[in-house]
Every structure is written in C-alpha cells, then in structure tokens.
Symmetry: C2
Subunit: 231 residues, 2 copies
C-alpha cells in the first residue's frame, strides 16, 4: 500500500500565515506589491504618506487600519488616490493590530486592478502589528524622535521585523534631548541589517528617500512562491 506522509508543521498550523499567503497570492495575481507600514500612535505615518505619495511613480492605493473612525483615510482621500478604511472595533475595545484575515475581508473593496502598490497603514502600536503577517512584500516602520532612544530595545520585534526604519520628526531634534547616535546604535543592536532614513514629514526633509523606497518596492517582482519562507 502506498502511503503518503503529510507533515503538519507548526507554520502550517498558523492560520494567520496561511491566510497571509492567500492574500499574497491574490496580490501577486494582480501584480500589486504591498507595504505594511507600522508605528506607535502619533509617530506620523499619515503625514508621511501625505508628503510622499504625490508624485510617486507606481499607482498607489492605501488600506487604512484603525480601531475606529476614518480620520486618516479622510486626510489621504484628498490626495485623489483610492483609500479603503478597515476598522478593528468589533471587539470590546477594538483589535490593536491588523491580521491577515482582516486584510482578506477588505480585499473585495480594494481596486487591485487599478494600482501597482498598496500601502497598508496599520493600527498605531509597537507590539502586536509586528506579530501578524498580512501578505505584504515589505514591512516598514516609522519612529518619531520624540519617542526616546530606548524604543528599539523595548520593542525589539517591531524593529527586527522591518526592513526599513523611518526616523521621523527630525525637525524637532534641536528641541529634544534625543541622542540620535544612541538610537541608531540601539536599532543596530536589534536589527543590524535594517535600512534607516532620517525624515521630517512636516518640512519635507528626507521624504524623497522614502518616496524612492516605496517606488522601488512597487517595482519588485511578485514573490508568492517565497512567502512560505518567512516573508
């Protein structure tokens, strides 16, 4: 008798990973690259997108994750790009992150045939968003210099899981006791290979670098087949 052994790995048991891969396959089928953008509340994700998305080469859409309300989506809609709101407030106080299944429920509302790049603005939180793949090609985070030098050491998974750390609000550096070298050293401690860029979404300084990074992600090859390798 021929017997086939199916090995159930821990990864396969993780429903979130399974759904994230399904999302990624759907994104790939539509030739859409996806950036998962994360930060603490008030680090400036939306202001950064307001500054960086106009003039971006690839056609971009935004999936806006919030516990409730559509404040950020309303701001971004004025850029005349497709913006889809995804609220997590079905629970008692609302989920503190997006997961793959939430993003999947939003797929029918996304104009995937009209865009090349989807930026998912996650719920403001430095812990749980880093734990859930959503089917993205790249994870990036925004960290404000007002948050202190210790954040990479206190929230290491977030800094470790991202391939880009945008250091925002550098226009405020002269008014803070923030030691940038110490912060970057702490980033390096938890994620030695991570790219970083210094930005002020308010003044525009450094925004072009972030715009170029987004454009480059938009031009990457689809990679659903490699998603199971841990992306």
């Amino acid at each position: 008798m021929h017997r086939t052994k199916v090995r159930v790995t821990e990864d396969a048991l993780d429903a979130n990973t399974t759904i994230a891969q399904a999302n990624r396959t759907d994104f790939d089928r539509n030739d859409v690259r996806v950036v998962n953008l994360m930060s603490a509340p008030g680090a400036g994700k939306t202001t950064l997108l307001e500054a960086a998305l106009p003039g971006l080469g690839p056609k971009v859409g935004v999936l806006e994750g919030d516990v409730q309300g559509s404040f950020d989506a309303d701001r971004l809609a004025s850029l005349h790009i497709p913006v889809t709101q995804l609220n997590t407030d079905n629970g008692f106080g609302g989920d503190c992150h997006l997961d793959a299944n939430m993003v999947r429920t939003a797929l029918p509302a996304l104009p995937l045939d009209e865009i090349d790049l989807l930026v998912v603005e996650n719920v403001g939180n430095l812990v749980c968003p880093a734990e859930f793949r959503i089917g993205e090609d790249a994870k990036a985070m925004v960290c404000s210099v007002t948050e202190g030098e210790d954040k990479p050491l206190k929230y290491p998974l977030m800094f470790r899981t991202c391939e880009l750390v945008v250091v925002n609000k550098i226009d405020l550096l002269e008014h803070l006791d923030f030691d940038l070298d110490k912060f970057l050293h702490n980033v390096d401690t938890v994620n030695p290979d991570v790219e970083h860029m210094l930005v002020s979404a308010k003044t525009g300084e450094g925004v072009e670098a972030f715009r170029s990074w987004l454009a480059a992600v938009g031009e990457r090859e689809g990679s659903a087949t490699t998603a199971s390798a841990g992306a």
Copy 2:
C-alpha cells in the same frame, strides 16, 4: 426540593475581572492604593514618574510593565523606591498590555506592607491596556502633545476609561502645529468628565499637580467592596 438558581452573569464569566477583584482585595488588605498609568510608547510615563515621585507624601512603589527589558525600572530604582519589573514576553512577540493575572503573579514580589501607593506603569500602548482591569483604584494616562490632536477620537476607550489625562511635553508646544484647544475638545467629546493637567516632565512645569493627584489617590479609602460595580 429546594432549588437555588445561580445566575452566571457575563461579568462573572470574565476571568480577568474576577482576578482583578482578588488583586484589589489584597491591595486593600494591605491598605495600598493602586494607580494604573498608561500611554502610547514614548509619551513620557517614566520621565513623569522620575519628576513626580520624589517628595510624594505617601510611600510609593512601582510595578514596571514592559514587553522585555528593565530600562524604565533601572531608571526609577535610582529614586530609592521599591521597583518591581514585570515582563510580558512569554508569548511570541510579548503581550501588549498587563492583565490582572500578570499583576497577580507579581504580588508576592511587591512590598505591600511597606508602601501606601503602587503605581503600575503599563506597557506602552493606547489600545489593549484600557481593556484589562488589574485591580487598580484609578486609571490615568499620559498623552504627549507630539502625538497629534486626533488621538482621543482614534483611541476613545483609553481616554474614556481614565479619570485623569496628563498632557505631557508642553515645552514642545511652540515648535509644533498642535492645536491644544482642539485636542481638549476631542478629549471632552469622548470623556466629558475627565480631569486633565498640562505638564512638562522635562522642565517640571505642572508636575506638582500630578504629584498632588497621586498623593490624593494614596489617601483614598479602600474600595474592594465596590470593585464589582465596575471599577
């Protein structure tokens, strides 16, 4: 046959509430009042405590909640007050909040017979910490003016569940586009009765008001018997 009907209410089914009440009973037995101090990452909870705890009337201890590490506890220990570290990193990426059971596991390490007031510095997060009672007498939050005016509307449960909102980093107001009146209006929208105070933990402005508030909580009557009413 005599039958007794036990009505299982939703509240009774909530294990966290049950354990929070047990915590509160233990705190009351030791005549210790408890403040649950919450904020987004980097809003300045630790700096505020460094400024406010010296000179406080009631004898104070701190329970320091972090995903991992003891950076804040190390800072506060230099104040020569009892500081207990509670880490949440048993999970994959670490829990993003303290709950009643985590606090309960820390009880044996707390010098309850030596203190009048316990300040619990929660994990930096504006969502989940607001959902879990830990047995506290009062919930307070710190919100930095760098986080933007919209935070009460985006994280209403946090602002609604607290009896005090400390508006921190007001020394930076002159360098920001932050509309304080708009922010306070938004606070008022989600929690009309909440007390607020304007503070700069860095310059010391307004810190005395927070110190007085802490001292007043330390002098409250124990209230374990009212905990089931929703405290």
